[in-house]
Each structure stands twice: as C-alpha cells, then as structure tokens.
C-alpha cells in the first residue's frame, strides 16, 4: 500500500544483514519512572514513535490509554537515502505529513525509543518543534540515546517486558555512525523540554525522560 513504505532504499541494503539473535533484556530505570505517569489514574494519550508492536500495545492496554502509533523511522527512511538531509526547509513539511492534525491530540507520553539516534540534529530540532503543539506542560518524552560511536543500521525493536525491563531486538548486524547527542546539546535541540531524569546504562544507552516545561495541568 502506498501509504506504508517502511522499506526505503536504505532498508533494502540493511535487510541483507538481518540478524535473528535472541532479544536481550535490559533493566530500564527510566521506564520504571515513566510508569509512575501511567499510574496517575487518568486516561493518557500515548504517542509511540516506533513500529506497531502487539505486545507493547497489550501491555499498555492495562492502563486504558489511547495509543497513537506513528513509525518515525519508517516514514523517514521511506524518503530514501539521505532522509531529510540537513536542510531546514524539508523538516517542517515532512513532519507535518508524518504527524498530521486530522485528530486533535494532546499527548501525555511520547515513546521515542531510539528513533532520535536516526535523525540529524536539524531533523530532531524540526521534529520537536512540530511535536511541541501536540504536547502540554508535563508531557513526558521517553528517549534512548546512544553514547557509542556506532548504532545498529536500523532502530532496535523494544518490547516492554514489564514495568522495569525492556527486551532489545537488534534486527541487523550492519551499523552506522551514531550522532552521539550530548546532554547539553539535547537541552538546546529540545527547547521547551527539560531533562527530568537521565540514566546511563552499561551497554552504552542513556535513557532520558524529558518533560515539557510550563505549569503542569
């Protein structure tokens, strides 16, 4: 179907080196903190920027939230090699198409997983500027930023095992350079959001919970 183009030319190359290793389970301290938000008792609106994963939907269903699934990497890679590039102009247009406003949404939680690692600095800035109107003060963004030199050529698939553990499914042995966003840089790129909590994990992933600034409703 034309509106699903999850395999751009970048992906086609990468699929040759698909790995089917057992998923590794890592404890996620940020995830534990994130679920505090879910236990507040009201119906949350959750934006999942990863692919549709049934077990995650099933897990989140216990909280009675509304889940929006918009696979950022798939949409991004569908644009072909080079993605958006470093042009300032392409970002807003792309993201307006990616996250349309057909249904008014105000997200309480954004599950970014590791998708930010697959955007350039300008793309990430453009994306966050586009996302901001869909958020409100107190909106939490959960992101996993690699501090390593390289990352898998495709985003990892993360499955929520429970409130403290994530299963990592690396889908390719191929790698690509990581943007290696540093905290100060992220503070600048994600203007309007502040780092609420951050945890550096042994396997080179820094977990972040960003919170939209402003008076919480």
């Amino acid at each position: 179907m034309s509106w699903f183009s999850s395999s751009g030319s970048r992906d086609k190359k990468e699929q040759r080196t698909t790995v089917e290793a057992e998923p590794q389970i890592h404890r996620s301290l940020a995830l534990s903190a994130l679920f505090e938000e879910f236990r507040r008792g009201r119906k949350l609106q959750v934006l999942d920027l990863g692919p549709a994963i049934g077990s995650n939907v099933e897990f989140l269903s216990q909280f009675g939230c509304k889940i929006y699934i918009e696979d950022l990497y798939a949409a991004h890679s569908a644009r072909g090699v080079g993605g958006l590039g470093e042009t300032e102009e392409a970002g807003p247009q792309f993201f307006a198409e990616f996250l349309p406003t057909s249904e008014p949404a105000s997200f309480d939680v954004v599950l970014a997983w590791d998708t930010f690692n697959y955007l350039t600095r300008k793309e990430l800035g453009a994306f966050m500027r586009h996302l901001a109107p869909f958020c409100h003060p107190g909106t939490v963004v959960f992101a996993l930023i690699s501090i390593l030199k390289t990352i898998p050529a495709q985003p990892i698939r993360f499955r929520i095992v429970d409130e403290q553990n994530l299963a990592y499914e690396v889908r390719t042995a191929a790698t690509r350079p990581a943007p290696r966003f540093v905290p100060a840089e992220l503070n600048d790129i994600l203007r309007g959001f502040r780092v609420d909590r951050s945890f550096l994990l042994r396997h080179g992933i820094q977990e972040y919970l960003f919170v939209k600034e402003g008076e919480r409703r």
Binding site: M1, H26, I53, V57, F63, G64, R197
Partner: protein, 177 residues
C-alpha cells in the same frame, strides 16, 4: 447482492473460480433470494474480482477478498478483510480481522485483530486489540473499557543504571562500563 455464499467452517475461504468481473452497484435492488434458515456459521464472501462502491450492511458474517469503498457496517457480526481484501472506509463489526488493507477506522465491539499481512491506516476502537508482528499500522488505538489501572509488579533485573539524575540540569555522563 452478488456476494458469494460460503458456509464452510474454515476461517480463510479459498477464492472460488473467478468469473468475469461484473459491474456492481450496491444501491441496486437485490434480486429475489429464496428464504432459507441460516445457520449461525453463515457468512458471505466478497470475492477478489468484486469491487463495491457503497455502504454495506447485513446480518451475517462477512469475508472481504475484493475491494470495497464504503462503510462496512455489521456491528453484530464478524468481518474479515482477507489477504486480497481492500477497504477504503470505516469498518464496524463484532470481531474485525484484517489480513488485507484498511484505509479507514475500525470499530470492533469485541476484538480487532491485525494479522501479520494486514495493514490499517486509521484508528482502531475496540476493548481488545491484537497486532501481530509484521503488521503495518498507522493511527491510534483506543481500548476504552479495558482493564484499568496497572499492576506494580515488576520482574527483577540486573541493575544497569550507573548514573541517575533528577534535576533541571543535563545529566552528567558517566562512562559506560
């Protein structure tokens, strides 16, 4: 209606030998059909060569292997969009199973199932939603009426956190061990 009757109990009906495509008009009066008692397992099939432009409603289960551009409204019955099926409109059913493609919203009173081969662009509203791995989905999922509240249970895992920070200041990076 020119749907093909399929009373077999199987879940994936095999397409019948294809006849030349016939123009369809859902608004046209249906030809007289002899009344016969229907078993609960009755279901209708829209074959792969059929294209329907218009709303569909009925009182039996439905399998769509063809193309439908119009609301599918069988709230009390099961609707299956087969691997060849394409629906461009909202789908209402008791259990809605998508193996093909839906460009519209899905409302399932009991359960919505998106199979591996399936694709939905639209919103799914159902108390139970199953997304199989490999399925394609773009939209929202609303499971209103599902279990509320979360269990605090958590599986113990090896502590991996090395640095924790809760402040407005950026996290201090520690070396990965």
């Amino acid at each position: 209606m020119a749907w093909k009757r399929d009373d077999s109990p199987g879940t994936n009906p095999q397409p019948e030998p294809q006849s030349p495509p016939r123009p369809m008009n859902s608004a046209a009066p249906a030809p007289p059909v002899p009344e016969a008692p229907r078993k609960s397992g009755d279901r209708a099939t829209i074959g792969p060569s059929i294209f329907i432009k218009g709303d569909l409603a009925g009182e039996e289960d439905l399998v769509i292997e063809g193309r439908v551009e119009g609301k599918v409204d069988l709230k009390q019955h099961n609707v299956t969009i087969g691997k060849n099926g394409r629906v461009k409109a909202d789908v209402f059913g008791r259990v809605v199973t998508v193996e093909g493609e839906v460009d519209g919203n899905v409302f399932a009173q009991e359960q919505a199932v998106l199979r591996q081969s399936g694709a939905v662009r639209g919103n799914i509203t159902s108390p139970r939603v199953t997304l199989e791995d490999g399925s394609r989905f773009k939209g929202s999922i609303d499971m209103d009426g599902s279990r509320a509240g979360g269990s605090g249970a958590g599986k113990a895992g090896a502590g991996e956190g090395q640095a924790a920070n809760r402040s407005n200041a950026p996290a201090t990076a520690a070396s990965a061990g």
